[in-house]
Amino acid sequence: MSHEKTSAEQIQYLKKVERQKRIILWLRVLMLVILIAAWEVATRAQWMDSFIFSSPSRILNTLIRLYGDGIIWLHVWTTLWETVIGFLLGTIFGILIAIVLWISETCSKVLEPYLVVANALPKIALGPVFIVWLGAGSFSIIAVAVSVSLIVTVLEVYTGFNEADIEKIRLVKSFGATKKQVLKKVILPSSFPVMMNSLKVNVGLSWVGVIVGEFLVSRAGLGYLIVYGGQVFQLDLVMTSVVILSVLAALMYFGVQLLGKGISSKY
């Protein structure tokens, strides 16, 4: 308890926890440094062919060159906005559909087999269909991203809705709650952790959808750079794009995590 005097053992324990945390952090940083250094040394010493494996210094040079051209922003922005839009659409529509399914049991029973098949289907297979329907551009790429995250969101959130505490539902019904009130007061708030989790999963899925979409059809974007770099055997370009991609994906993930913490602290 905070108001009691902290004992020497407690202080020691806290110090130990703190020390362990620091060690883990240092080990993480060390691992990254070793990986980069080993990669650099191995390519410099010609143990690995830097033409095929690239190298940290070549990646850095490529990054500087792309930055100097100003060309990098076009690719980053293209991929980023496609991903954000795909992520938002997939998540929002996923949750809305889950709400509809929860409201109408008949609807959910009728749609169940369709959802199961749609979930099992590799959504990438629909890529050419989207291209024909929506044209060879960003709309098709976003459509691929949405198709990858939508069904998973529906299934996961709907399952979350159905796991809401029956006693709580009975309780609000005993107060005379309407179905809308049950949804607002019980189902949605108690499924908040599930929805947050679904959001985090969707960050990853949207990136997958957009990059694959860009592989199929694009004139710009990080996925385009990767495919282009692969075709002209510029592994530096491929690796650089992958590095940018991992940084962006990580930032977006932490952004969503922060958002979740912000919302749940307001409850």
Binding site: D165, E167, K168, R170, L171, V172, K173, S174, F175, G176, A177, Q181, K185, V186, P189, S190, F192, S264, Y267
Partner: protein, 256 residues
Amino acid sequence: MIPAVTVENISMKYHTIDGEITALDNVSFTVSEGEFIGIVGPSGCGKSTLLSIIAGLLEPSDGKISIFGVQLKGVCPKIGYMLQTDSLFEWRTIYKNVMLGLEIQNRVTPEEIHDVETLLKKYGLYMFKDRYPSQLSGGMRQRAALIRTLAVKPDILLLDEAFSALDYQTRLAVNDDIYKIIKSENKTAIMVTHDISEAISMSERLYMLSKRPGTVKLCVNIHFAMNDRTPLSSREAPEFREYFNKIWRELDVHVS
């Protein structure tokens, strides 16, 4: 005087693919205003079903319920329902939890807020109003659950195994606590429990249901010679054992 609750020839049948189950068969009794009624019976005798019917959450297959002489149709604001677990919403503070019923019934007015705060103060929860349920003890949580029910000002309280999730010591204390609150607020109460001691210690009259299909098998008026009985003092009264033995014999419990 019009009874608070009239239960007339209530029957309940459940239909499943495998067939029909009669849960309740022709159950009738009346409860006067201010009375504390206990309902006991073997597990699966339909006592919780009966309470759900009185709460208006379930429609009986046959028979009718009247509340102060008016036939019950659906959920009635005169009735407050307490369930097996406290069912406090862990994402709401205690204050927001006790306001739940008023929110749902669109009755959040300055007067009602004032009355809720009075209840919180009277029963020692006001200083915890901004805490979350997880920060409260089991007994406190049960109190908060009762105040949530009382906040909408029901005349009749239904307690459905309301203490069964608590450990034994807490349960005895909470029995006493809740009983005193119900009596001081002058509410009519119907309590369903599988615990004979609990039923005897709290009720003024006790109905025993038979095995499924549940019918009223026995009605016992509980009377103690002492004044100002409480659930704890009742348990120590000499009559307690007699009542217990009588009901135990009738309950006819067999293991195996």
